[in-house]
Symmetry: D2
Subunit: 303 residues, 4 copies
Amino acid sequence: MGVMRLGYVHARVTDLDEARSHYGGTLGMKQVHQEQGVAYYKAWDEWDHHSVVLEEGGVGLVKLGYKVARSTDLDDFERRAAAFGCLTERMSRGENVGIGDGVRVVLPSDHVVELYHEAEFLGTETGTLNPAPFPRELVGVGVPRIDHCLITTEDPETLERFFSECLDFRSAERVVEHLDDGALLGSWMSCSNTPHDIAFIKGPNGKLHHFAYALTDWHEIKRAGGLFAMDDVPVDVGPTQHGITRGETIYFFDPSGNRNEVFSGGYMVHDDFPTITWTADQLAAGIFYIGRELNERFTSVLT
Amino acid sequence: MGVMRLGYVHARVTDLDEARSHYGGTLGMKQVHQEQGVAYYKAWDEWDHHSVVLEEGGVGLVKLGYKVARSTDLDDFERRAAAFGCLTERMSRGENVGIGDGVRVVLPSDHVVELYHEAEFLGTETGTLNPAPFPRELVGVGVPRIDHCLITTEDPETLERFFSECLDFRSAERVVEHLDDGALLGSWMSCSNTPHDIAFIKGPNGKLHHFAYALTDWHEIKRAGGLFAMDDVPVDVGPTQHGITRGETIYFFDPSGNRNEVFSGGYMVHDDFPTITWTADQLAAGIFYIGRELNERFTSVLT
Amino acid sequence: MGVMRLGYVHARVTDLDEARSHYGGTLGMKQVHQEQGVAYYKAWDEWDHHSVVLEEGGVGLVKLGYKVARSTDLDDFERRAAAFGCLTERMSRGENVGIGDGVRVVLPSDHVVELYHEAEFLGTETGTLNPAPFPRELVGVGVPRIDHCLITTEDPETLERFFSECLDFRSAERVVEHLDDGALLGSWMSCSNTPHDIAFIKGPNGKLHHFAYALTDWHEIKRAGGLFAMDDVPVDVGPTQHGITRGETIYFFDPSGNRNEVFSGGYMVHDDFPTITWTADQLAAGIFYIGRELNERFTSVLT
Amino acid sequence: MGVMRLGYVHARVTDLDEARSHYGGTLGMKQVHQEQGVAYYKAWDEWDHHSVVLEEGGVGLVKLGYKVARSTDLDDFERRAAAFGCLTERMSRGENVGIGDGVRVVLPSDHVVELYHEAEFLGTETGTLNPAPFPRELVGVGVPRIDHCLITTEDPETLERFFSECLDFRSAERVVEHLDDGALLGSWMSCSNTPHDIAFIKGPNGKLHHFAYALTDWHEIKRAGGLFAMDDVPVDVGPTQHGITRGETIYFFDPSGNRNEVFSGGYMVHDDFPTITWTADQLAAGIFYIGRELNERFTSVLT
């Protein structure tokens, strides 16, 4: 029960045709629906209607969708979010193509999150009867599924409290200024067994740092990197391994400048997971463990 | 809330010194406690007191421990198990070294499962402050954690119903005789986001097929295989990839003949995961996808 | 100077259309030429005209082609082979499509080897100007190149002496009955820096055990295995790692029953490489290091 | 026949104890000999006496040793080098510990190369009788062997001509200013089947850019990176994949500031390999294919 996962990322792109080439041709997602200026994409190992919505005009996030396990969770979360002081409203089936009723919440960081329980079922590419472990034909990277999102907020403490108190997320890892000073610089929070279903770092409200796709392993990360080069996809950082989450990673940009990530690995989180603390002086190792250096672009470019 | 994970496997071994060499020297677990004829082991990425208990005398399972998220889950699960017709009893802190109060349930398959909420915290080897992604010094394979257990039962339908109705597990994958005949031959059930926290196949009650350790990836599976050869660990099957769970695997035996597995990969399961069905005619591909052959030993040796 | 590499394998297949599906569709080689009942294939990282010739009618080897570094090597090798007692003859440009003049030698094992210096240049798929590290679009496994061949001979000592004395190959690894008894059961011989450009084991003259494709690494071996299952390619053994050569491997069969291998890894051989000896009692570990078991099929099926 | 491989790198280090910690403790080479201010190291898969010599005092290269296949090669190479205009001299057994007679050549780039045919045989760690594919116990990264060296020269054309005409190396890849302008910026040259046994780029004479260790694969590259972080080894670039050579790589520095590389992969070079050309505008992709960016440090720090 509770929030299961990041269900969809609804992002703005400056040019939909370029975005199609990236999300479809390079990443290998499948377009499942399109309307005037909006395209809906699904990855091969996802069963719901879509996981990425691309809307022409601008950059950055329109909203994030998180899917909950039970319809009754919606009332509960709405009440808790409202009590927390967030603006909430009901959304109806059909406001989002293929998505059922839900609750829309404006986070303390000004991001919009939609909670929903129902989505049109399209099924994975490999199906449910004697399935192959991966599709015989993949396009480009062939990303299996989206994984998480990293956003920025002026007030990490409050946003962490929101996700913890209202949505039952747990902090897997936290970055603090000093050990004896609770000033929170970032938090990686989980509602599942993965190290982060949402993460946020200190920065301007309402901004997107990146959203990420889960790949199988370190070898797939390298293969993705080769395809990025062939397709002229700008790479920000990587391949490398994170200290935070232990994940293997490449950061790159879609043609509109929204940062994406391919991510693999990471450990198992449980309710009793002993939260990890990083101190600011070790932040570079926390972000990029092998090189222990942050580039200016990674820390400053947001959409 | 609910069951979080397989917390410990308590197994019998014919010779404790030989077992120490295997679980300690080859697999690289750390002995955290010992008493007369019983040794307690922990893997490096686990934080609770132990995950494997080795008791001298015989082979096979003594019991399995599953850790629950809240102490109040224990009452609930006890009531549901009793209502299901299982023998249940309370267990007290200290009956298992380092483990708190709990509920002991005899499964319809005659296996004993202990549910508990508290365990002495020892912490992972990498700790919670600016941790490295893996320990600088690993012994042997250096298994990070246990993952799941596969047992046998005369009546898979009933055992599946037990885990579903009493413990809120979901079936990620099921093997049936034919599509139009519900005769269940095996079920891979999950209480987390992994494809199986328990699995069972048709066979004699009370028996162990194997218990498994999670490794990082396919490369670590190969490295483990090399160490098994150097240490004269009998390998049953692998390396290969499962159809069921997609996991990468080697099966091998401890010196007493208990089957172990090293396992990596697998997909994400959620509450709305569309359960996968395998038909018996494709079982060999389901078990060993690449080779599509079952050996006699794999299907017949149980402890 | 001297022999550079295995240049082509010319094999018989019972059905050319089925063979095309295998070598083209599953392995991803490109057909570069065809005539009545014969198809010529090239892998993406090879530059010469072809590396595999499939001739309809029967199974097994027609002949092997080894390319030499200088045209003057041909005279030298012809003279040495004749002096060794082998039947030799000159072959002319065009006897093999795309291949220049050469020398045909009947080995002491009755296999036919063609030595040649010239081949029509087609180039690799990635080219010679600012190339990508792999082709953007691969078909199936996408094998980069052929690597070696394993044949059988009634008299391994003589065949080893032939390759050493006539063609300047070196034994990287040898299997002997006992350490104090020189009876040779097999030899892995190199004319390059790889552990084997030809290998042979004791068995009937004139037979093929397998020919092999080089893949990048252990991850590609697994991916190939998945594709074999999807395409109903019979797998003989693997994935596993060899003791001999350290190579990572899957053995499988083409639709005619000729055994193929995908192979990765292995060490560097030089002229001063200290030859490795395996004793027959450790042969299973030498062949399949992880499992240390030989199956009946692997040791008995030849074409 | 001819040059077989880079046999040893003799480098200067500012502090021998710090260097021991790096080459011994982190890289896992074994010290085989030491004298006043000089330490000799061997990697586990090498059989000759040593492959790295560390001499206290300064930084950069003292000299490189290349091992030749036949003692008669020495006369030939000496004559050709002298005819090319290089200063040459004979060196005697024992001038280098464990190394036989040879020829010392001052390259047109002012680097010193020693050619030799004999070295004391110590054997690999896994031995020549029924060997395991890797040592049961590795220290740190556990590098198997050295692979190549990259040096700088004011005159790449002349140095390429030297290695081609005097030592029979072939250019696997070349970087030129423009396609229609032969100005050579760098060359990757091979005397074996690997893409480079020596490489050089335009820069000051006599300087070292890096020397490299061969690892098994991309996974080992990542593991090395983790160990570098744990041991505070400064990482320059990587992990990433080269366009040139296709190799997978991390560049890092020893405590004295000499750049090292761990390298895996790469293709097979033969005498008929079609040399690859990179144009300067694609140099960043040639060096670091995935990110296509060169950092200032990588292009400017030499020792």
